[in-house]
């Protein structure tokens, strides 16, 4: 068996980012922070995808996390980034736990469509809720850390390091989870659910647990995106947002817990670059990339790295 270097990779990447961060330009810090937020959501989708499930409604939890963070700031005056992420994740996890009883019974296309319907319900509610700014959403105050407000030129950096810390922790927890019996059940559920039941395990329970973890991760990601961008609106729950997350997940592949963050960073870079070069064709480049991936590289970009490692 190959030695598992995931923990070392995550640790090194975090230290490198924290040390080198101050020299990054502000825009790069912003792209990296948003990539961490999206990567967290994609990490949850990886968990589900390993069990053969695609959620077309992960934006539900992303948006819930963001609005929870926003509501904390707007109604309770809380602007601490860690509290926002914690509460955002907790609210999303609670909602995922409740609707998980329903969703865990579904597979394939019906799982996707039902999760889509649920996220559109939230969108429909937010669009018409004037107290939360309807379609315009509202702005969020700059974040503080443990009650300290960093000087303006250091806000981006401190948010980035907080994001990296949370992302690293999440990646490590999910990595650990994948090695537990419940985590290892995922490919079995994908391959043959009846055999899983014969082995004495409950596929429904396993899916439910995965769904709650994925929901919590998306909630944390949403809260992070909210404080990083400084603005939230109902489009965060729209189906195209879920589509972006699926894109990142497919781009990265399910091979490693690091992959979703790399995928999110690549997505963010393509998006920024393509949008800057030609604002009317950036979606086309994304669509072409996705099509090429589906046809030629169904296991995602990460499979390139592992294929190379196996050969050497």
């Amino acid at each position: 068996m190959r030695r598992d270097r995931t923990v070392a990779v995550i640790g090194t990447a975090f230290v490198a980012l924290a040390a080198g961060g101050p020299w990054l330009p502000q825009w790069a810090m912003f792209i990296a922070t948003v990539a961490f937020a999206r990567g967290l959501v994609a990490l949850g989708l990886v968990l589900l995808l390993r069990a053969g499930l695609i959620s077309f409604g992960q934006a539900l939890f992303y948006c819930l996390g963001a609005y929870t963070a926003g509501a904390l700031g707007r109604f309770y005056g809380v602007s601490d980034i860690f509290i926002e992420m914690l509460v955002g994740g907790a609210v999303a996890a609670l909602v995922a736990f409740i609707i998980g009883f329903l969703l865990a019974r579904y597979r394939g296309i019906f799982f996707g469509l039902l999760s889509l319907a649920l996220s559109m319900i939230l969108y429909g509610l937010l669009v018409k809720t004037e107290a939360l700014g309807s379609t315009d959403g509202f702005n969020i105050a700059p974040s503080t850390l443990f009650g300290v407000r960093p000087p303006p030129e250091w806000v981006r950096y401190s948010v980035l390091v907080s994001a990296a810390a949370v992302a690293a922790a999440a990646a490590l927890i999910v990595h650990r989870y994948l090695q537990t019996p419940l985590g290892r059940l995922a490919p079995a559920i994908k391959d043959n659910e009846i055999r899983v039941e014969y082995m004495g395990a409950s596929a429904r329970k396993a899916v439910h647990v995965k769904y709650v973890i994925a929901g919590a991760l998306a909630g944390v990601g949403g809260a992070l995106a909210a404080t990083a961008v400084g603005h939230i609106d109902p489009d965060m729950a729209y189906w195209t947002t879920s589509g972006e997350f699926i894109f990142i997940t497919i781009l990265a592949g399910t091979g490693s817990v690091v992959a979703p963050f790399v995928g999110a960073l690549i997505y963010g870079s393509i998006h920024t670059l393509a949008y800057g070069l030609s604002p009317n064709t950036w979606q086309m480049s994304l669509g072409l990339a996705l099509l090429v991936l589906i046809v030629f590289l169904p296991e995602g970009l990460w499979s390139l790295a592992t294929r190379h490692a196996r050969r050497t």
Binding site: I54, L116, L118, M120, V127, K128, G287
Partner: protein, 298 residues
């Protein structure tokens, strides 16, 4: 209480529009088992083609009464090459893959088509009011409604009835039903299944384009037009039962009436109720209200 006539009239008109918009989606799923995200793109292509070509037609001073024919022809002529190219070049190599993978492929195609539309027609809105204004309006219980909307209802009935007739009373339709139930046996019996898939995808996409064309005079045609239609058609089709023709009609009527009720009595819940009904139906009967009996496989 005095709102009830307008609730019904609004509901019927919206249902007719929904049914047109969702018809092609349910046809393609019913035959090919593809949840087709490009449906929204074809809707937008139809709307743009109709709006731009009809505007050009009217600008030359030709008789405005014929502009309805121009709407239809423009949508068909422009959308057909797109549909054929997508099915022949990409989709036909994916039929063996998982349903969800094909869905992702159509999502990728949707992203591409969104920009193709912007490249062809630009980002400025198109308006054609003539076909809409030409027919005047009619009165129901002191409320004026555009007569054009009656045309939409008639078109929806013609499309639905025509498709039902095609499926159940023609040789090609009966063969198509055989293909739906068992593509392999059909192939063994000498049916050219690939051709039926192409025809289905073409027909389904053209229905979406026509729905867009008929809607074009009532709205301003702007980028992102198809994005909303996709989820809305999904809701209609899922409520009725994916792949079922009467199901799409029932889904359209339910969503149409529910939305109309909500708009008149609780406008803040307009979008919520549509997707709430969708989720509720999925929760109770995942295969929809009019679920087809699954053909038994040995």
């Amino acid at each position: 209480m005095d709102q009830i006539p307008s609730v019904i009239v609004d509901g019927v008109m919206y249902s007719a529009w929904l049914f047109m918009a969702a018809l092609g989606l349910t046809l393609i799923y019913g035959v090919m088992k593809i949840v087709n995200v490009t449906h929204g793109s074809f809707y937008a292509i139809g709307a743009y083609a109709a709006a731009s070509l009809t505007a050009a037609y009217l600008a030359r001073g030709f008789p405005p009464m014929l502009s309805y024919a121009v709407l239809v022809v423009a949508a068909i002529v422009v959308a057909a090459p797109f549909a054929i190219a997508i099915e022949r070049v990409i989709l036909r190599f994916m039929y063996a893959r998982d349903e969800v993978v094909i869905l992702l492929a159509t999502y990728a195609l949707f992203l591409i088509l969104e920009d193709v539309i912007k490249l062809i027609w630009g980002v400025n809105p198109y308006f054609i009011a003539e076909p809409y204004a030409l027919l005047g309006s009619f009165q129901v219980a002191d409320m004026a409604y555009p007569t054009y909307n009656l045309l939409l209802v008639a078109a929806a009935l013609v499309f639905g009835g025509g498709l039902a007739w095609l499926l159940h009373s023609t040789r090609a339709g009966k063969l198509l039903v055989a293909v739906i139930h068992d593509p392999e046996v059909s192939r063994a019996m000498g049916v050219n299944v690939g051709r039926y898939y192409l025809a289905t995808f073409l027909l389904g996409s053209l229905l979406a384009a026509l729905a867009g064309a008929f809607t074009a005079p009532t709205v301003s045609v702007v980028p992102g037009l198809g994005v909303d239609v996709i989820v809305l058609s999904f809701a209609v089709v899922v409520i009725g039962g994916l792949g079922s023709l009467p199901g799409a009609a029932l889904g359209a009527v339910i969503v149409g009436i529910v939305r109309s009720l909500s708009v008149h009595y609780m406008p803040q819940l307009e979008l919520f109720v549509i997707y709430f009904v969708m989720a509720a139906v999925l929760a109770v009967r995942p295969r929809g209200l009019f679920s087809l009996a699954e053909p038994r496989k040995i």
